[in-house]
Symmetry: none
Subunit: 201 residues, 4 copies
Amino acid sequence: MPNLMARRKTLVDSMMRDAIYQGAVAVLAEHGLSGATMDRVAAAAGVAKGSLYNYFRSKDELLTFVHEKTIQPLIEANEAIAASDHSVAEKIEAMTRGWYRYVCEHRATFQILVANMNVEGVLREASIRSQKASIDVIAGIIQQGVESGEFRPLNAKYVAETLLAAAKGGLEAEFLEGSQRSEDETTETLVAVFLHGLCAN
Amino acid sequence: MPNLMARRKTLVDSMMRDAIYQGAVAVLAEHGLSGATMDRVAAAAGVAKGSLYNYFRSKDELLTFVHEKTIQPLIEANEAIAASDHSVAEKIEAMTRGWYRYVCEHRATFQILVANMNVEGVLREASIRSQKASIDVIAGIIQQGVESGEFRPLNAKYVAETLLAAAKGGLEAEFLEGSQRSEDETTETLVAVFLHGLCAN
Amino acid sequence: MPNLMARRKTLVDSMMRDAIYQGAVAVLAEHGLSGATMDRVAAAAGVAKGSLYNYFRSKDELLTFVHEKTIQPLIEANEAIAASDHSVAEKIEAMTRGWYRYVCEHRATFQILVANMNVEGVLREASIRSQKASIDVIAGIIQQGVESGEFRPLNAKYVAETLLAAAKGGLEAEFLEGSQRSEDETTETLVAVFLHGLCAN
Amino acid sequence: MPNLMARRKTLVDSMMRDAIYQGAVAVLAEHGLSGATMDRVAAAAGVAKGSLYNYFRSKDELLTFVHEKTIQPLIEANEAIAASDHSVAEKIEAMTRGWYRYVCEHRATFQILVANMNVEGVLREASIRSQKASIDVIAGIIQQGVESGEFRPLNAKYVAETLLAAAKGGLEAEFLEGSQRSEDETTETLVAVFLHGLCAN
DNA sequence: GATGAATGAGTTTTCATTCAT
DNA sequence: GATGAATGAAAACTCATTCAT
């Protein structure tokens, strides 16, 4: 049954890519992007260097894979929230909280990945793509709020960019500080500012 | 008078460092961070490669110098605004607008510098330091607003991080897009959100 | 009857080697000698890479096989002509014409093989062997002419080397030029020069 | 006097290129083209690997340099002979003899270079260029003979290709054999064949 | 102090060969 | 016998840093 063999091959392939992914994440966490050599990735993944090239055509492809595999769940969560039937304010809060949780759970990877997202080179393009996708979804929610009258008539795209950057900035600051912050205070502060602003009245 | 000679030496030193700075900025703008080799910097600065090492102990030190020299005016402007006697809301707006202007004027350099600010390696530490300084100043303003009752009682530091990141994110998005945005709409949107929030009421 | 099984085995073996030969020729024609990887040969031959090593001990052995199998018919044709009862002048012409025809028919392979014949490495030895064999045959014909008085008393071996190289050179030039030349003019020119020389008298 | 310094620099540069040339020739003679790694060339030239790249942009450029530097004198000698006022038959003989002498004097280099001239890769183009140049000069002489009536009306280009290849073939055979042949018999045989042909009458 | 040639460790990528299944 | 994933030894090229002049 060739079908079965093909499936097995696909499965094994996927497991190897995963193993390499794990190795790459470990190396990124320990040595940073510029310290992530193929030698180290291979060693961390427990395979020979040449084997990396059986699963990824180049270092670039490998890094892109790592990026996408890490970021994908976040994008999907955003889309799910956008498609839900909560109020726009609730969507903003849910998204923000979702980001915080997911990123904190994958702290090690994100610490590197977020930090290097805008670096030149391969990751840049992958990063720009995913960033644009996220901003579109967020801007959609904001625009929805603007149109329903719930939100003031501001440029939805600018606000979306701003919100995403603010969230990333908060997480980065937390990472830098080293200490773990309270999920509630962090997200509530961000949401409070974006929904109601700093001003008191 | 050895004093005079020492002063002259210091002056010449400083001029050389400036020339090298100019060269480095030009190279960064043209070739990006990863394309900024010492060879190119020396050529652009019009000095021999070996001379770079008479003024900077290493490439890292040189890049740190570039970073600080570029970012310094921003920090000083922040401090001036913080020390002024405008209302906190006005201070927020003035700062935001100041960032936008300065960064746009030095677009080429910032496009590289901002984009690579958080990369691991040399720039990281310089970047963290300057970021912390900025956040302290901004947080000071916000705290002032909180204490005066103008602002709601939110965690000033978190908000400051968030505001700075949001501003950077907006500028980055503009750089990425390639087109120049209107200073007014950009800053007004950001300020509007941070002062009054998205919600309509 | 083990005899039968042995014969079958030999037959199957020979068919596999042929299939691999076909694949190798295709790869050589498409990718050249340096692009002829075992991966590509295996793919072109429709077998697994590992199987190549069941029929050839090494890449070198495989390439040698390709060379010999390609060149063999030429050598045999030379021998047939040498053994025929034409005049020596006719033999020279027949051989020359035979080379031209055969090589042009297998243009793709020869373009690679001839071009790389003298390269160091594997092919070198195979090439030298076959070249020596050819030269012996040609020199035999010339010597025959010398002894019969038809040819002037020149060093038969030197002339044979010279004639073979001249023919190869002409074909190479034709390959380089890209255009197909007339079989008649090409061979007649070569034969005319070798038999009667450039001088008009 | 900057002129002087520039001249010195050019001189030193040229000496380094020569030293590297020597190293490359030694490596080619010992290990052949495919064994000529940059590591080995550097070692043979007594410099660090990186230094090679201060004088040649790439391995290809280096190899091309080796080729041209080796072949150039031959081309110039050909041109000088072509421009002389000897009879065409004398020119043919002088050229042939000149090739033999020069090549035998630089035996080690040519053994590799000639053998690899038509290999794919960098040398191919350099080789084709120089070969075309030579053939043009030779064909010019032959055409001159045809027009003056001294030579029979044969295709000058074909004959030129043929003559050059024949000479190369003879030298190659000599190299292969290992023993040194008599310059007189070798060149006289070749010239005799090309001028008067094999046939006796 | 200025110069820039020399250095060599470090990086990515390729590919013949092996061997467990 | 067939398979093809795993291997790891090379190889070309880069560039921060040093140091003799």
